[in-house]
Amino acid sequence: MDFELSTEPLDVGQLRKRLQHPSAGALVDFEGWVRDHNEGRRVERLEYEAYTALALKEGQRILEAAKERFSLRAACAVHRTGLLEIGESAVWVGVSSDHRAEGFEACRWIIDRIKMSVPVWKREHYAGAEPEWVACHACTHAVEPVGSLGQELSEDHSSCGDDQGASGHHRHGHVHA
């Protein structure tokens, strides 16, 4: 059960090995990639900034909460920081469980929670324009720490996922990943 931040490219093959468990029959993971567009603008690269001390603490709490909610053998997540090029992995979440249903549900829950309360911000870099911090125009609201909630996503989060890109199944935020 580890949440980490990384300044280096993610080695997903290595990360998946952390989930190995003799009783696990399923591995589900999610990898969020940097894509070349957002809201009609061409994006050249992304820059991620983290409030490290709190991001690690909150990320770990999310993994621990996931373990309490779901029947998991292992859960890990890593978020990149720094400058990332198109196609790079920005975030990875992986879980292992005895059966697949719990794994799918838990993996989805963890990435949604990470996007909701782990203090990481991204800045888009464009060709010929100043970089801009990305804000969620649809649903600007304060961070909701995992420990402060009834653990359920509130209704208003379900309306603001933009579901872009191949990986876009988040319910919150502007999905580059």
Partner: protein
């Protein structure tokens, strides 16, 4: 008066033009500190959309500020 250490991230860091600063303040809570610094730095952010961390954990806006506390105002996060 209380001495507190602020760290800025993301859009607040860009707007304030500083990664961190130490201020001597009469603010008794993060809410009062926000008001004081918003006036000083004229940043474009609404408190209702933000959260606050004190000493590296989430805190209530009306919690008491203590001398040497480390405060971070958190604009809406955008990871992933």
């Amino acid at each position: 008066m209380t001495t507190v250490h602020l760290q800025y991230f993301s859009t607040l860091r860009s707007q304030v033009g500083l990664g961190e600063e130490t201020v001597v303040t009469s603010a008794r809570t993060p809410e009062e500190l926000w008001g004081e610094l918003e006036t000083r730095h004229r940043w474009n952010a609404r408190r209702a959309h933000c959260a606050v961390a004190v000493n590296d954990d989430f805190a209530a806006w009306d919690s008491p500020l203590r001398d040497q506390d480390r405060v971070v105002f958190l604009t809406p996060v955008a990871g992933g």
